[in-house]
């Protein structure tokens, strides 16, 4: 083997591999072409893996980043998308964003002030900005976006979190004034999300239903090339990008990459294979069972973050025969859930039990929620017995001739199915007959708005309380929004109102705690688990830094070695 290693061709191949310029597959093919046997190649690979480094630190321009993504891409229309995906961070910008420490930092706005009474927020907008089309991006253009979100005709399902806004004004091109009905410190949490990204509304109106499908017009460093649902989304460098003013972004000019290609990989085990095989450069969301293997691979870097997500299930308050309108029954079901066991068995320890509605990573998380919803079968049984439920001959509880049996619908996805099966087994231990029905996406949401007995849902949002308010707000019950339990609980509405009227960060955190305790105790839905977020990159990828406070990495600094 030492003879082979001394050959210039082999040395060149090894150098390229170590620098990250070749994938493992390309390396093996090259080595085979040089006449090396598999044993020799294996030994070379092992030797290379122990010396693989990040390569040089001088950014190189060019190349297309191939990023694997665990979800399908939604249409790229901030106002009416299913979900905002990583491409939003490439083609759009918002008023503000977060730095890796969670501070609000400029993006389209260069600075901002909040009035003493908390009722007026004034943003200074960077001058000279354009959309990809060349149209002017100024305060008037941003006002058009925010007014569009507020207008029910545009179909934004998130209007309720914008309800505290009284008006948006643009007195001059570089000044945007948001007037509030009451103090609303959470405003910054809202406008930083992809749903409030700045879009050219004139172009959006021109394309109508095809906006976000056939074209987009944002101001981010990349322009959309194509979006093929179920397959990929591609962007290319925007030649006229004026550069970023965000302090945490190092590259103040045009992006280094020629383009980015996000590849939808819905088959969980395939994600790890593709990044190990060098078919993709970066990856979001490997299967949990593959994480150990990826961490052991020295050609890869695995980043683990807390994720702003949660799995929960609803209980239709209209099923009064089952007592779902009674808090004791909901608490009984919750006590039957072995959250820690689920995290260990299904997430391989890469997650946490959810005792309240949000993850421990959130600034306002309170450990007080952990006094509720602990796994306690005896307590579950006694709560149900106190409500008059008794075990029938088949072990299933009955009351007034009604069996305690209900259906939970889930979206057909492998982890959902595993979780559904776990819940089914755990409900059985307290004499509850749970039937889990797996449905495709269209059917699932169709039935969700018809309020099924129960449904399991997964949310992901950078400030989770904001999205959770949608699920518990009585204004969203009865098909008007995603309150799929039809839960009308005055205590919850008060908690939502307190959250939405916080005037400063301290008040926001206090209101957040109140909100969490209300959910944990009243259970408008039953929280289950939160999973960790995993990102993986090959060594040839530089400047790619997923962080805790942004759902996706920014791509301005990314370059390929």
């Amino acid at each position: 083997m030492s003879d082979f290693k001394s050959q210039p061709a082999v040395q060149g191949l090894v150098a390229q591999y170590v620098d990250g310029g070749l994938s493992r597959r390309q390396f093996v093919k090259g080595a085979l072409a040089l006449g090396l046997g598999m044993t020799t190649i294996g030994a070379l690979l092992a030797a290379c893996n122990s010396t693989t480094s990040g390569g040089s630190t001088t950014p190189k321009t060019g190349g297309t980043l191939k990023e694997g993504y665990d979800l399908d891409f939604s249409r790229l229309d901030p106002i009416n998308t299913n979900w905002y995906d990583p491409a939003f961070y490439a083609v759009y910008e918002s008023l503000v964003t977060n730095d890796p420490q969670g501070n609000y930092v400029p993006q389209v706005a260069s600075s901002w002030t909040v009035s003493g009474d908390g009722l007026t927020v004034t943003f200074k907008i960077r001058s000279g900005l354009k959309f990809h089309s060349g149209a002017t991006l100024d305060a008037t253009a941003i006002k058009a976006v925010y007014d569009g979100i507020a207008d029910p005709k545009n179909g934004s399902p998130l209007g309720s979190v914008w309800a505290p806004v009284a008006s948006t004004d643009a007195p001059d091109p570089t000044t945007l004034v948001i007037k509030l009905k009451h103090p609303y410190f959470d405003l910054f949490n809202i406008v930083k999300t992809g749903y409030w990204d700045i879009v050219n509304m004139a172009y959006r109106a021109q394309l109508g239903d095809k906006y976000g499908q056939q074209g987009v017009d944002g101001s981010g460093p990349f322009q959309l090339v194509d979006w093929v649902p179920g397959s990929h989304t591609s962007v290319k460098r925007w030649a006229n990008y004026p550069g970023s003013v965000t302090p945490s972004i190092q590259n103040k000019g045009k992006p280094y990459l020629d383009g980015i290609n996000w590849i939808t990989i819905l088959d969980a085990p395939q994600r790890a294979i593709q990044i190990q095989n060098g078919e993709i450069d970066t990856l979001r969301g490997p299967a949990f069972q593959d994480i150990g293997r990826l961490q052991a691979d020295k050609t890869l870097t695995v980043t683990q973050l807390k994720e702003w997500s949660g799995y929960f299930f609803t209980t239709n308050f209209g099923r009064t025969d089952l007592g779902f309108d009674k808090v004791n029954v909901r608490q009984a079901l919750s006590h039957a859930v072995d959250r820690a066991g689920i995290v260990k068995a299904l997430l391989f320890g890469h997650g946490e039990p959810l005792y309240g509605p949000i993850t421990t990573a959130d600034k306002s998380y309170t450990k007080d929620v952990e006094q509720f919803n602990q796994f306690d079968v005896a307590k579950a049984n006694s709560l149900l017995a106190a409500e008059g439920w008794k075990a029938g001959s088949d072990g299933i509880l009955t009351k007034n001739g009604v069996r305690f049996a209900f259906e939970m619908i889930i979206q057909a996805e492998s982890f959902n199915q595993q979780l559904g099966s776990a819940l089914q087994a755990q409900m059985k231990t307290i004499g509850v007959d749970l039937k889990v029905t797996s449905l495709d996406r269209g059917t699932f949401f169709n039935r969700a708005f018809a309020i099924p007995d129960s449904l399991m849902f997964f949310y992901l949002w950078p400030v989770p309380i904001d999205v959770v308010t949608l699920f518990v707000n009585s204004a969203n019950a009865h098909g008007k929004g995603p309150n799929w339990s039809n839960a009308v609980i005055p205590q919850m509405d008060q908690a939502v109102a307190a959250w939405q009227s916080a005037a400063n960060e301290a008040q926001l955190i206090a209101a957040g705690k109140q909100f969490q305790l209300a959910v944990a105790e009243q259970l408008p839905f039953v929280p289950v688990i939160n999973r960790d977020a995993f990102w993986v990159n090959r060594q040839n990828v530089h400047g790619w830094h997923p962080d805790q406070w942004n759902l996706y990495p920014y791509y301005n600094d990314v370059w390929l070695g």
């Binding site: 597959r25 029910p152 179909g155 190990q276």
Partner: protein
Amino acid sequence: MLLILTISSVVIFYAMRSAPGGPSGGGVLNPLSSQEIRQAYDHRMGLDQPVYTQYFIYLKHLATGDLGTSLVNGTPITELLATHARNSLVLGLTALVISYLIAIPLGVLAAVKRNTWVDQLAMGGAILGMGIPNFWLALILVYFFSLRLGLLPSAGCCDPPQLILPALVLAAEGTAVTMRMTRSSMLEHLHDDFVRALRAKGLPEWQVVIRHVLRNALIPVISLSGLRLGWLVGYALIVETIFRWPGVGYLLVDSVLRRDYPVAQFFSLLLIFFVLLANWLADIGYGLANPRIRVA
């Protein structure tokens, strides 16, 4: 053929709309959208009209050559057809070529070397090929060639290396069936009177086998080809989905799940048309290969 296509179009049209959750129910719009927004979308798209009205509008558009556009991403179906049909054609043809290149020589060899280790090995392979489900074979191949050896990509399109694994998987069962069919058909003819006569005339054995026996033995194989094209279409739905090969099968599965009515309708009909066409071509090929049938 036209009658079958018409009946199929009605069945597909009604089946798609009978499935719960239309395009506005999570397929196209935000799933959190209110009922009002979804109703407004249905109205804009004409999805709130009676199904028979929608069907006649659809036929009217088809008659004028308007195949429609995808509800999900707004791409004209003609564009989808150009890219996805090409991809499917490349995959299907590659699988067919692989299949015949392996199956016919091995089938002939197995027949000529009957009851030897060559025969047993070939037939053992054929039994495996028929018995292994293609989704499982796909996983095994991905495990060895992508994960363990790092030689081939595990999925994607459309570089030549990305074609190898899906084509092999798609070819597997057909290869096995064709190999067995070739062998048994060869065995039927190897001891025919005309073969004995040819040998008696002193013709070299390879000429007897290849030029005379194989030609006759191929008749049932050609007949089987028509059926095989039909199977290929069915298997392509699975193989293209596993390997994320963006062909017609992949698009069809995706569009059904998203309730992208125009796309699902058109490509379902296209596949039906293709199967009918394949059977028709097989009949013609059978006639060409066997003049007795053509004359009759």
